[in-house]
C-alpha cells in the first residue's frame, strides 16, 4: 500500500536479505493483528513482493512463516538480556529491561498474541520457542548474579520474576501503556531486588549473591533509591524484630 513498495519489489536482494525482508514484514503485521487474521497475501503486499515469491521462501505457508518470524523475534528477545557483566546489577538489569520493554512496545498486539497463546497457529513447537526465550533470559540473569551452579531456590526466584515481568508487560499493553516505560522498568528492577533479598533470607547461596551485588550498588542507583524509600515505611515494623 505504501508508495515505496513497488520500488522495493524490484531491488535485487540476496536470498538472506529477501528472507529477512519477508520476516520483518511478517513481524510488523503480527505486531498489530493476531496471527490467524493475517494471510500470505498481506505479507506479500506489506513486503511489496508477489505471493509466489513468499511461497518460494516459505513453502510451508503461513505456519512456517509464523514460526520463522517467531524464531526471529525470539532471537531478538534473547539478545535483550545479553549485557556486559560490569557495573551494578540493577543498572545491567535496567538496560536489559529497556531493550525488552522496547520490544514489547514495538510489537504490542503480536507480543500479547504470542504469549497468551490460544492462537490458531499455536503448536507445541511455537510454545517451545517461547519457553526457550524464558530459559535464555533466566540463564542470562543467573550469569549476571555470578552464581556458580545456581541452586533450586535461586533459579525459582529468577524464573518467577521473569514470569512476573511477562505478566507486567501484558498488563501494561492492556492498560494503554501506563505507567511510562521508565517507571515500569524501575519498578521491575526494584521487584527483582525485593524478591532476591526475600529469598536470601532462607537460602545461603542467594544471600551470598545479594551481598556481592549490594557491594557494587551505589546510593544514587536503583538499590539506593529503593532502600531510602522503603526504610521509613518499615520504621513501623520495630515490633516484628
Amino acid at each position: 500500500m505504501t508508495s515505496e513498495a513497488p520500488i522495493r519489489a524490484y531491488r535485487r536482494l540476496s536470498v538472506e536479505e529477501r528472507r529477512r525482508q519477508l520476516l520483518e514484514a511478517a513481524l510488523s503485521l503480527f505486531a498489530h493483528r493476531a496471527p490467524e487474521e493475517i494471510s500470505l497475501d498481506d505479507v506479500a503486499e506489506a513486503a511489496g513482493v508477489s505471493r509466489p515469491l513468499v511461497y518460494r521462501y516459505f513453502p510451508g505457508g503461513k505456519q512456517q512463516l509464523y514460526e520463522a518470524a517467531l524464531r526471529s523475534a525470539a532471537q531478538e528477545l534473547e539478545h535483550c538480556f545479553a549485557e556486559p557483566p560490569q557495573g551494578p546489577l540493577t543498572e545491567r538489569l535496567g538496560r536489559a529491561l529497556d531493550r525488552y520493554l522496547a520490544f514489547v512496545d514495538q510489537h504490542d498486539a503480536g507480543f500479547s498474541a504470542l504469549l497468551q497463546g490460544g492462537s490458531v497457529v499455536e503448536t507445541s513447537r511455537t510454545t517451545a520457542i517461547v519457553d526457550g526465550v524464558r530459559r535464555a533470559a533466566a540463564e542470562h540473569i543467573l550469569d549476571h548474579l555470578a552464581a556458580r551452579d545456581p541452586g533450586p531456590r535461586l533459579r525459582m526466584t529468577v524464573r518467577m520474576w521473569i514470569t512476573a515481568v511477562e505478566a507486567a508487560s501484558l498488563i501494561w499493553l492492556d492498560e494503554d501503556k501506563q505507567p511510562p516505560l521508565d517507571e515500569l522498568r524501575d519498578s521491575l528492577v526494584e521487584q527483582f531486588v525485593a524478591v532476591l533479598v526475600s529469598t536470601a533470607g532462607r537460602d545461603p547461596q542467594t544471600e551470598h549473591v545479594v551481598r556481592a551485588a549490594i557491594a557494587l550498588e551505589s546510593a544514587d542507583g536503583a538499590a539506593g533509591t529503593l532502600a531510602r524509600r522503603v526504610l521509613p515505611i518499615l520504621g513501623d515494623a520495630a515490633h516484628l524484630l
Copy 2:
C-alpha cells in the same frame, strides 16, 4: 478397573450427584494425563458407568466434559483464596496458599496441562475460565488488603505475584515437588511481602496498605521471621542510604 466400579454403577444417584460423580472421575483422570489423551470411555470406566450415560450428561462429548470439569476445578481454586478478613495478612495468605498448593499437589499433571495450554481441547472459552480464576484470586487478595478502589500499581503488583505463584507451582511440579509444600508456601508469602513493600516505595496507596498490614503482624509470624532473617544481610547496605 477397580472392584468398586460395578457396585457404584448400580447406585441410584440424583442427577446432580451423578453429574458431580462424572466430573470428579474426569478431574482425577485429567490430573494424571493430558486432556487429549483421555477418552469418554476412560471417564465411563473410571466412574463405573456406561459410555451412553456419560453422553447423556455431556451430549457435547469430551469438549463439554472438559469444560465442565475445568469450571468445577476453577470454582474450587477460586474458593482457595476466600478467607475471613481477620488476623495478620501473612496468616490469611498462608492459609489460602495451603489450599491452593494442595489443589496443585492433588491435580498435578492436569494442573500443568490446564495452565500451560497448547492442549488440543483448549479454546478461547477454556482460556477465559483460567483467566477468571486469576482475576478472582486478585480480587480476593485486594479485598484482604482492604484497599478501597485499588489503583493500577497495587493491582499490577498483586497480579504479577499471582502469575509468579502459578510459575512457582509449575516449577514445583516439574522438580518432583521440591521444596516441601510448607517451605514453598512460606517463601511465596515472603515474596508477596517483599514485592508489596517494594511497590509501597513508589505508591502512596500501597504504602498505606503496607503500614496497616504491618500493624497486624506479630514478631513470631511470617513478616517477623522475614524481617529478622533479612536485616543482617542488609547490614552491608549502609553505603546506599
